[in-house]
Point group: C2
Chain length 399, copies 2
């Protein structure tokens, strides 16, 4: 393409989020990994060996590398704000993993720092990037089905029993399903509901004293204009709602129903918090159990975040991993969406559109701050037993 | 059985509710239809022809018939309170269809009238009678899975496009999905959550100006003790959540996915409100399109009211039409529940246990008033945009 250039990415944090994004970085020729940083020596060694590129010990050194155009901030949640600040100070664009940050003040500081530095800020990956979700939004914007009225989102996973570092089980340190998983679900629901959440009433549950952070929630959102949404999540490893998604998993992979309870069983092999953290590290990039993405990395289907029903005036739209069910007044149909050639290709699409082509980001800091505000309102509503009105809401802008 | 006697039932109202209960009355030898009343001559004629028993024009005459032990009040919702009052005045036990009544004052008057008369009051059928729901409650009461924490209930149907009389499209006259359908869903959710609802936040939708009553809602309930429930319903005839129930319908029947939109298509043949009411009447007992239950009336499976996930501390329980999925910490299993020999046999079980054996009713007036209070709180919360605390809550009593 005329004027196309390769975006050179420096990775801050070679942990779980990077492990999940790596297949995308490897397969999409519009980006290239040129540097990284991580406190763990084995991860740095693996990066240098795999790419022949430098892996630093600090974010500052990474950001100072002139080869880096954009810093992918994939450090633990509680460091996102500081590390985006470092990137901005060095004049680098930033893509920061969800959750954007743990407080609204941090979000605002990130927006201000990048704006002042004249660099772009994109928040993701989150599952609102998924093509079936975005195509659903386009179907809504087409006007063919009338206004969105009622959204129903569910997800039942084994999130709480995946191996964690100790702080991931402490809500104030960014642990629990509100910071890590509601960010996905609320981002999807906000995109489809138009973005402007006026009211949040929620209940949360923290039912395992061994893992004393939120493992579940149910939230009821009211949107400006009268639409509403119900968003329910459980990470307790019991019912798996992929049963309602044709046993296609979050990453677009085939799942085996016989794997019920696998996360708890694996976790039971760790005798202490330290062993659990080691179990997590072992599966991450550079760890002993790490499995490099096999090429070609074409998944079975798109990624998804659980059953989702978008009720419009004239149809219910139900995005799934391989397309969108349209249940209209008169007939039902299915819009197939073939698997993407590159997983999470949509993230690179937005990076290029924003950083290279200068178009406004959909997943901007302002957008993600609004999602963070709703997530924090979920926590606050549950804690105080009353409805909250989240601040900083911004609307979805039709493409 | 020693001491067993046949309960002689007089039917007040030969409409839709009776049509749905008739297979039960016909197949269960513990009850016998001995009289009826209805304002429609063709229904009365059919009853007299089918049973050789009298069909009167008024509830008073029916209740005066000494052959009647119990009056099944299946008249339109807005008459329930008055007709239970008539039954009580004649010293007859009453089983009143859901919804119990349209206001809490009416519910209280019904409770007082029957208590004063020394007769029993049972409210139903509702789907909380269904064996998979009641067995789920028994699994909870066994203590094997810990306390109930989070309930998720969905139902997406074509309720709003089934033929109606004009008043069934007016909320204050008892129309809409809150009075007719939330009664089922809330009754189920209350039974499984323990009964004592402390808070209700809800949004409702009335999106078809041609049918200007609530067609959808999403409600978030908080229970005493900290459990919570999300209950979502749409009657707009788009997505059909029986897709998540193996295409087994509400009545335990097999459904054909190709029937999408059938309710709207059928309704489109009615050119006026009068024609629509005639369409409804034609399918009811004594009508031109009425189909008598074929014997033997053994259904494919139990009745159900949509996808339902009951999250307990150590397992998610998911009742379906043919059993209960148990997704426990370590393994998943399925408790099969073969189809009942008589549909809705559970209703007759409770009638006999209460009226003949003198045991307390599970579906008592007090229980149903509490469900009505939650349903009215759903309407109030949606109207006023704030949380409500429903009155008159009573707890579930383990068997």
């Amino acid at each position: 393409m005329a004027g196309a250039r390769t975006l050179r990415i420096g990775v801050a944090g070679l942990g779980r989020a990077f492990t999940l994004m790596l297949p995308t970085f490897l397969a999409d020729s519009r980006v290239r990994l040129v540097a990284a940083c991580d406190p763990i020596a084995s991860a740095r060694a693996r990066f240098e060996s795999d790419f022949g590129m430098p892996a630093y010990t600090t974010v500052e050194t990474l950001c100072a590398d002139p080869a880096v155009d954009l810093v992918y901030v994939a450090t633990p949640h509680q460091f996102h704000a500081a590390h985006v600040g470092v990137a901005a100070a060095f004049g680098k664009h930033a893509m920061v993993e969800k959750p954007m940050a743990l407080s609204l003040d941090e979000c605002t500081a990130m927006i201000d720092a990048t704006r002042k530095a004249g660099v772009h800020l994109i928040v993701g990956h989150s599952h609102s990037f998924n093509t079936p979700v975005r195509r659903t939004r386009e179907l809504i914007d087409s006007g063919a089905y009338g206004a969105v009225k009622m959204i129903t989102a569910l997800n039942f996973t084994d999130f709480l029993y995946r191996p964690r570092r100790p702080e991931e089980l402490v809500t104030d340190a960014g642990g629990g399903v509100i910071h890590s998983q509601a960010t996905h679900q609320i981002d999807v629901v906000r995109l489809l509901g138009g973005g402007l959440v006026q009211s949040v009433r929620a209940h949360t549950g923290a039912w395992d004293p061994q893992r004393p952070t939120e493992g579940a929630y149910s939230a009821l959102l009211g949107f400006e204009g009268g639409a509403f949404a119900s968003a329910t999540y459980s990470g307790y490893g019991h019912f798996d709602s992929d049963e309602f998604m044709g046993y296609v998993g979050e990453m677009g992979q085939a799942k085996n129903p016989a794997d019920h309870g696998a996360a708890r069983k694996r976790l039971a092999t760790a005798a202490s918090a330290a062993e659990e953290a080691a179990l997590k590290a072992a599966r991450n990039y550079g760890g002993a159990l790490y499995q490099a993405p096999s090429a070609p990395a074409v998944p079975l289907a798109h990624q998804h975040f659980g059953p989702l029903i978008v009720g419009c005036e004239k149809a219910d739209l139900r995005p799934v991993a391989d397309g969108i069910h349209v249940y209209a007044d008169g007939e039902r149909s299915f819009l197939p969406l073939p698997p993407p050639p590159v997983p999470r290709q949509e993230v690179i699409d937005e990076l290029i559109a924003t950083v290279v082509d200068g178009r406004p980001a959909s997943h901007s800091g302002e957008w993600a701050r609004a999602t963070t505000a709703v997530c924090l309102a979920v926590l606050e509503s549950a804690r105080n037993g009353r409805e909250c009105r989240p601040a900083h809401q911004v609307g979805h802008n039709p493409a």
